[in-house]
């Protein structure tokens, strides 16, 4: 058995396969709109009940055309026998395809070892968002304006994300989102204190119902980013986020490095400019960037502001109760950090406080928190049934916390 493993190892080092995906034709012009033919009821995962009559395949098409690192990383997971790095012949993630010199063989062994060790590390244990919960979230149509972004220099096309103008999202697009978000969480867990996945689910569910292509005055993309936080990360007080991703040894961070490197060098694409919309909302580069910045700013707010204040007021509560994430969620909302701090003060948060009572008060006194909870309840309704429920059932604390949506 050991000899077999050794032989497989030698074989994989000597023969590096080209892992490039067969290229799809690139359109340099505006992406034309395509409508699905035939029955779409089963096709559109964001319209399981068939009530919205969705048929526009634009977002799916642009995803299929994308060759961005995050999309390529996702496609690799779909290729048979090329995923497990521990028992199968290792996937040559850093292979130099045409150069079989001994040094490249050594580099491949080192890269494979790092990949294997990473899989065994604690950061790899971070909880993932369940796919069915993303599917439940996208049953809702959050409205506003969406953008179709083609590859290369294709011009972005705006559309009304409502009624039957909203795009159909098929299973592959949901699978991709599921992969992308969880990979980003894994990357961040390798470099920073792991984010509580349930709060990211709640946040994205509330902000955009995972409609990553949205862009309007209130914010751009999956995390509804605005200018100032992006500038803070891309050259300001939170620049360490990008640097740590670039320098990360975690394979989960690889698909995010190009964007991080580019933004460290050139600054982030100016968010307020309509010419840059795709840099924040396209399925490839846009989603990559949006994940880096939205998760990055969450970590920055939590670690540099919320936790220090909470630890001073209530050291035991700060470390054990998860309240830091509740206050971080509020600080990410429209009233910002000042709101989170004022609530901590007004609610007299201390180690004597009951965390559940604090959460009830947060819901009572903060509109954004209340809205997040309301949207979480709607997500749970859609998990029960894609059709609107005549009488929504009472939700358990576990459901509302998001426990049932992570694994």
């Amino acid at each position: 058995m050991q000899r077999k493993g050794f032989l497989l190892l030698i074989l994989s080092i000597l023969i590096c396969h080209d892992l490039a995906v067969a290229e799809a034709p690139v359109s340099a012009a505006t992406i034309p709109s395509r409508e699905a033919s035939g029955s779409v009821t089963a096709l559109c995962v964001n319209d399981k009940a068939g009530l919205k009559q969705l048929h526009k395949m634009d977002i799916v098409d642009t995803l299929n055309l994308s060759k961005d690192p995050l999309v390529l990383a996702y496609r690799k997971t779909k290729e048979p026998n090329k995923t497990a790095a521990t028992t199968n012949p290792p996937a040559c993630t850093t292979c130099l395809t045409n150069n079989l010199s001994p040094w490249n063989s050594v580099r491949s062994i080192v890269a494979w070892s790092k990949e294997t060790l990473h899989l065994a590390s604690p950061a790899a244990d971070i909880k993932k968002i369940k796919k069915e919960c993303i599917e439940a979230s996208i049953q809702r149509t959050p409205g506003n304006t969406g953008y179709v972004c083609g590859p290369g220099n294709a011009k972005a096309r705006a559309f009304d994300n409502a009624g039957d103008s909203a795009p159909c999202l098929d299973q592959s697009s949901v699978d991709y989102m599921h992969f992308a978000i969880n990979e980003a969480l894994k990357c961040f867990a390798a470099e920073f204190k792991p984010i509580d996945t349930r709060f990211i689910l709640k946040k994205y569910n509330n902000e955009t119902a995972f409609n990553f292509f949205l862009s309007y005055g209130g914010g751009k993309g999956l995390g509804q980013l605005t200018s100032a936080p992006t500038l803070d990360i891309g050259g300001g007080n939170a620049e360490y986020i990008l640097k740590d991703i670039v320098n990360s040894e975690s394979p989960a961070c690889e698909p995010f490095k190009n964007v991080a490197k580019n933004d460290l060098k050139n600054g982030p694409p100016r968010l307020a400019s309509s010419a840059n919309v795709c840099a924040w909302v396209s399925p490839g580069e846009g989603l990559t960037r949006n994940l880096i910045y939205s998760l990055g700013y969450y970590v920055h707010l939590r670690d540099k502001f919320i936790l220090p204040v909470l630890r001073r007021r209530a050291p035991a509560l700060a470390n054990n109760s998860g309240l830091a994430d509740d206050f971080t969620l509020i600080s990410y909302g429209p009233d910002g950090l000042k709101e989170a701090k004022s609530l901590m003060d007004a609610l007299k948060v201390s180690d004597k406080s009951n965390p559940d009572k604090i959460r009830l008060e947060l819901e009572k006194n903060n509109d954004y928190y209340q809205q997040t909870e309301q949207k979480m309840s709607e997500l749970q309704d859609f998990l029960e049934s894609p059709l609107p429920l005549k009488k929504p059932s009472a939700k358990t604390k576990s459901q509302m916390r998001g426990d049932t949506c992570v694994y």
Partner: protein, 138 residues
């Protein structure tokens, strides 16, 4: 006379917070007035002194809010929000020297943590703080 004395003693023990506490609007007005005074000062120390007057006023009022038995937190939250928006400016007054670069970082942090979704400007609280930072960083 005795009755009058008794009434005086009774009122002496009536809690101070039963009088109306200063609102967020009151503090905005106070900030604007102190900012005008600070603009006329030449030295940084004297400008800081005006801001520290505002801080003293906040500290006094928030202490009363915290002691208040009122169940309605909205007025306290509005004042607190403004106070915590000012925190970076209050911290600035503890530094002897501050470089223009550091000042820009502080202003960026105020805008970034403001939370306001509006691309054309921050919230009124952060806008007021940025006015002070422009003055103190000059």
């Amino acid at each position: 006379m005795r009755l009058l004395g008794l009434i005086v003693i009774l009122f002496a023990f009536v809690p101070a917070h039963s009088a109306a506490l200063k609102s967020a609007a009151d503090f905005f007005a106070e900030s604007k007035a102190l900012h005008t005074k600070a603009r006329q000062e030449k030295s940084k120390t004297k400008k800081y002194a005006q801001l520290l007057e505002l801080k003293k006023s906040f500290d006094k009022e928030l202490k009363l809010y915290r002691q208040s038995p009122s169940q309605d937190l909205k007025p306290q939250l509005a004042v607190s929000r403004l106070y915590y928006a000012f925190e970076p400016a209050f911290e600035l007054t503890t530094k002897k020297e501050i470089s223009p670069k550091e000042c820009e970082r502080i202003k960026l942090s105020v805008k970034a943590t403001d939370g306001s979704g509006k691309e054309d400007g921050p919230s009124p609280e952060s806008a007021e703080v940025l006015r002070w930072l422009d003055l103190l960083c000059d």
